[in-house]
Symmetry: C2
Subunit: 428 residues, 2 copies
């Protein structure tokens, strides 16, 4: 008996899953370990930048008023009262007629209100003292980086849930985050099913293939920001399988099984979901590949039944699991960023369903060009190595010609989109 399933739209499947996506907790890691994590709270400036009036150049700090009548023919002569390196401060207020040699980044001495650059002055010696000659009237504020000019104390620098880049690490250091609040990584369980699957180091056998989905999906989990927990391959016994899923579920925040979701005779997953008392959110989607992608919910935890077909497994993860992982990481934009690109090759096969095709994006004269990989069958495996996008082809009665605009999802993107943007924007 072939089970009848009710297919739903991709956007509806996304909404059903995201109803159960929730943010996780926050932990602290040393700043050295923060790159690539996701901020656990908004990052606020705890002081002005610069924290004091400082010099952007090597030069002399002066009182602008002392150059009031200076000219090429009658330069102002200011006595060099001392010097300050970066990190030091001049010990007393500068007096009338005085200049202080100052290094890039050093604090402007009290009493001074301008800086003249090194190359703008003549340095002379007179009566055993050092003087500079300034040949023009310098304005108050000349060459000073003022307190708070770059950012004000209390400013929001970046939001919680954002991916921590080297630039954000620099901000964290500037604002004293020796330890950084980051979103805790969700533990994502992985169970592989399929009696055709061999372990990676097993020699090939007739009728069997090596299990590549488990390794692939673990890498996708890491890329999304989660922590994979691999529970191995399913046994062939329903009761044992049930216990494996039940035990795994206790140890994780979400659980992925690969394979075992089709309507064939040997797939236990629907029975296991039933026995667990899961709420099945959907088990058929109007999309290719991955039409039998399944999602369920048990006590607030999401269970994903991804297809055993590698392409379908890959696509199902990026569409339905990744945004739940990024939501756990506090991201406000948990979906892959989409962009519009020109199709780089014909995809003429019409398809009634939305298709998601792995492709490679390149930048050509300022335009995005998306080329499907694996069109040429003799090359399908190696071309997967190059895939960095998913090309979205809305279902219809005709195919797509090269040069037409299509919507693509950027697989290596860290900025993301909101659900509403993902669903509504960049539709070709």
């Amino acid at each position: 008996m072939v089970e009848r399933r009710q297919p739903i739209k991709v956007t509806e499947a996304i909404r059903r899953v995201m109803n159960f996506a929730k943010a996780g907790s926050v932990e602290y890691v040393p700043i050295e370990a923060s790159y690539g994590r996701f901020l656990g709270e908004n990052l606020i400036a705890d002081h002005h930048v610069p924290p004091f009036d400082r010099s952007p150049y090597d030069g002399f700090a002066i009182r602008a008023v002392d150059t009031g009548h200076a000219s090429r023919n009658s330069p102002a002569e200011l006595e060099v009262a001392g010097e300050i390196g970066a990190g030091n401060v001049f010990e007393r207020p500068a007096a009338a007629g005085e200049a202080v040699r100052i290094m890039t980044g050093a604090q402007i001495p009290e009493g001074c209100d301008a800086v003249v650059m090194l190359e703008e002055v003549n340095e002379i010696e007179k009566n055993g003292s050092n003087y500079i000659q300034v040949k023009r009237n310098i304005q108050v504020g000349n060459n000073i980086s003022f307190t708070g000019e770059d950012t004000k104390k209390g400013s929001l620098l970046t939001r919680k849930g954002n991916y921590i880049t080297p630039g954000i690490v620099a901000l964290l250091a500037t604002f004293g985050y020796k330890n950084v609040p980051v979103a805790k990584k969700p533990k994502i369980g992985v169970i592989a099913t399929g009696s055709e699957l061999l372990e990676i180091d097993a020699p090939l056998e007739p009728g069997k293939i090596r299990n590549s989905n488990a390794s692939m999906i673990q890498s996708q989990i890491i890329r999304a920001g989660g922590e994979p927990l691999y529970f191995g391959q399913f046994s062939d016994d329903l009761e044992l399988c049930y216990n494996q899923v039940k035990n795994a579920l206790d140890k994780v925040d979400m659980l992925i099984t690969t394979g075992g979701v089709s309507v064939g005779d040997y797939d236990y997953l629907p029975d296991i979901y039933a026995k667990l008392g899961c709420d099945v959110l959907f088990n058929k989607i109007k999309m290719r590949p991955g039409s039998v992608t399944t999602a369920a919910e048990k006590d607030g935890k999401l269970l994903y039944g991804l297809s055993g077909n590698p392409s379908a497994c890959f696509v199902g993860f990026e569409l339905y699991t990744r945004p739940a992982i990024r939501t756990f990481l506090h991201s406000g934009t948990p979906f892959l960023q989409k962009a519009t690109a020109k199709l780089g090759a014909d995809l003429l096969k019409p398809n009634p369903f939305d298709r998601f095709v792995r492709g490679h994006i390149r930048y050509q004269h300022g335009q995005l060009v998306a080329t499907p990989v694996g069109l040429d069958k003799s090359n399908v495996v190696s071309s997967l190595a190059e895939a960095n996008i998913l090309i979205q082809l809305p279902g219809g009665t005709s195919g797509y010609e090269a040069g037409r605009n299509v919507s693509v999802m950027l697989l290596e993107d860290q900025e993301g989109m909101t659900m509403e943007q993902f669903i509504t924007e960049n539709r070709p």
Copy 2:
């Protein structure tokens, strides 16, 4: 005395550094730890894919000849001789008039040469046996994925030095790489200099700022694929400094110092390079920021003297250190990928030197739009959090208006470019 330095072009500086860039050694890691590393050897298919003729659908394997005269009114009736699930093989050759129920991915039984899909047949029972009715003449090879159709044994799947994506992990699993040869990460030493620098967890003091460059550059090293080793801040004593650099150099593959490279009075680095007997490759470049970026070589190891200015430090690393790191990782395309983009805002200040401005790229109607970050001074710190490109503005006598084509480097890119591509391509 201000030292006189001979400025060179950016491209010349790149060439001088790359003369000393060399590939490192290879190590093995478990496949679970291979995502994000760089392949240590070319990946070759050790078997055909598929490894055997298999069915892409659930259906019945048949002998096409048995349907020779089949039609809607006179269907061929074939006896169902058994069934095979994925991973199993049919134990004997199929005989004339027989069909074998077959699951997606299962091996085609000997004697069969076509598959009819489940939905194309009528299943009937007659005299206690199961039969299928086929209503048309099926061609030999119908619905069979043939051995080696996707990739041939011996094919090059991806090259050494390539960044290992989830797709490549899947290939590694498919071809039996339980342990994966990856390029060993280069150890990159980091020493911070600058008497104005406070530790990250220190309270602010007059004239001082927290050390953000050390944390930032360590993150950039990780992003580039290296392993950072932080040796702390320089002492203020020349002899001590010299010993710190000398000891650090023994422990690393390349060494970065930040700060201490300008021609000011307090910078020891030139003296230390001289005392070490380094070959200084350059100490002044026609670029902004980072004109005082320095590189030297000692017994084949590269030493970088990056500016203490955060922007200059950031840019100097991406232009001169990153490609040396990627070369160590066996990449054939060690430079950041460049693309042409439309400038999203005016940058009207003319500059005689090449400028590299941190910016943010967005995708707008299929076009790349690059907007400089930190133009608005009141926002310079927070906007750095968003930077994902460097905008390259060739030196000239006029500025750049919004809408003009500019060349940008994609900071999060993993594909890269060769040196010649980087130097010659995508010039606006």
